[in-house]
């Protein structure tokens, strides 16, 4: 059983008396504004960037380009930062990029066991499950089982390598281009590359 955090309310047994999270968060922001430390709209401005600019659609575009342009693929693998920079997609929590190329014998999976680091600008902010204690505890030890539970069965003859994001490198997975996509345009290919494919817990599917 998971801890069930989402079902808990404030003033849960074991926690100190405190106002609900939303009240404390808004109080913090208000005190900062009252003191002139934060300007009106500061958080809302960043929220817009988080929600609208940082997106796995960018990562999908990079994958599709690498699948259709061998020179770009080589650059993405040898100097991911330069490749992503060509698109203007570098940014906070995405300043030094390394792409991990899957093959017929190796599958890559990304985690941040210490907290939540992710390549924000090209993958988007990390989803709740990626930050969960279950994923952080288990993925670096039993990734094959965790992926299978999520519906992604990796063949037994494919080795799984787990990248733990513990410093400033930010990773994206370059999955194997699936059979059945011959002749597809880069735009069509990008549509089958999901956020979960870029993290490495899903495989792109042709149909």
């Amino acid at each position: 059983m998971s801890v069930g955090v989402k079902d808990m309310h404030d003033n849960r047994p074991g926690l100190p008396l405190q106002a609900p999270a939303e009240e404390r968060a808004r109080a913090l922001y208000q005190v900062l504004k009252d003191k002139g430390v934060a300007t009106d709209g500061f958080v809302e401005g960043w929220q817009k960037v988080f929600e609208e600019d940082f997106s796995p659609r960018r990562g999908a575009e990079l994958v599709a380009r690498a699948w259709t342009d061998p020179d770009f693929r080589d650059l993405l693998l040898s100097d991911g930062t330069a490749a992503v920079g060509q698109y203007g997609y570098l940014g906070p929590q995405g300043e030094y990029i390394v792409a991990l190329e899957d093959s017929a014998s190796v599958k890559h999976v990304v985690t941040c066991t210490l907290c939540s680091c992710t390549a924000w600008p090209i993958l988007g902010l990390p989803p709740t499950w990626y930050k969960s204690f279950e994923y952080r505890a288990r993925i670096c030890r039993e990734p094959r089982k965790v992926l299978a539970e999520m519906g992604t069965v990796i063949p037994a003859d494919v080795a799984i390598k787990v990248y733990d994001t513990t410093a400033e490198t930010r990773y994206m997975v370059l999955p194997v281009r699936p059979a059945g996509t011959e002749g597809w345009s880069a735009e069509q290919l990008a549509q089958i590359v999901t956020k979960d494919c870029l993290i490495g817990v899903a495989l792109p599917k042709a149909g």
Partner: protein, 210 residues
């Protein structure tokens, strides 16, 4: 620090609550959730603290509180804790704003430390051992690789301040590259693993020749 946040490899956790490619919505499920992250950018832009200090503040939450508190809330409390510690605001001001207690992170157990002066410069292919220490401050190596031997697969072309220093607000962290070190999963977890390898991104000062 050997903190509650360092969860990797712990046994007994259940399924990850997600099916691959299922729709999970946007990054925030409530508008207030952006305040923690917004507070990080505010503090960093104004030179009040570093992101590493925020990481350390969250790691300093009382362990039971950490486990029982959802992600974005942990960042709201971490940012608030640092702002109080830095004298930007007071806990009393936060309490007055809600009319209820506003719990904060526990104090740091350490003053931090500078990187080692005698670090070895490593290259791709080198065998390295992660230093076997139990420093009580902020570090960015997970406990599972401590003392373990692996192979360098990448040396970063960029450098960053040493987290054990900048995570405590110190300015003697210098800057150094990190190395991607590949460990055979069996060397980390014995025969209780289905991974082939785990690759950890490690500051050079954490490493010794193997």
């Amino acid at each position: 620090m050997d903190g509650i946040h360092d969860l990797a490899g712990m046994q007994g956790f259940g399924r990850v609550d997600h099916i691959a490619d299922a729709d999970v919505g946007g990054p925030f499920h409530h508008d207030w959730e952006a305040i923690g992250y917004g507070g990080i950018f505010l503090g960093v832009e104004q030179g009040i603290f570093s992101i590493d200090e925020v990481r350390h503040a969250v790691e300093r939450l009382e362990p039971l509180y950490y486990l029982m508190t959802p992600y974005y809330e942990r960042y709201v409390v971490g940012v608030a804790s640092l702002l109080v510690e830095k004298g930007v605001l007071t806990q009393e001001e936060l309490v007055q704003a809600t009319g209820k207690p506003f719990p904060l992170a526990r104090p740091a157990l350490s003053q931090g430390r500078a990187p080692r002066m005698d670090r070895t410069i490593f290259a791709v292919g080198d065998r390295v051992r992660v230093q076997d220490d139990h420093f009580a401050g902020h570090v960015r190596y997970p406990a599972y690789c401590r003392g373990k031997v692996g192979t360098v697969t990448h040396r970063t072309g960029a450098q960053w301040p040493f987290p054990d220093a900048i995570g405590h607000g110190r300015n003697d962290g210098g800057s150094e590259p990190t190395l991607h070190v590949e460990f055979a999963a069996a060397d980390l977890w014995g025969d209780d693993t289905d991974a082939a390898a785990v690759i950890v991104d490690l500051f050079e000062s954490y490493l010794e020749p193997a």
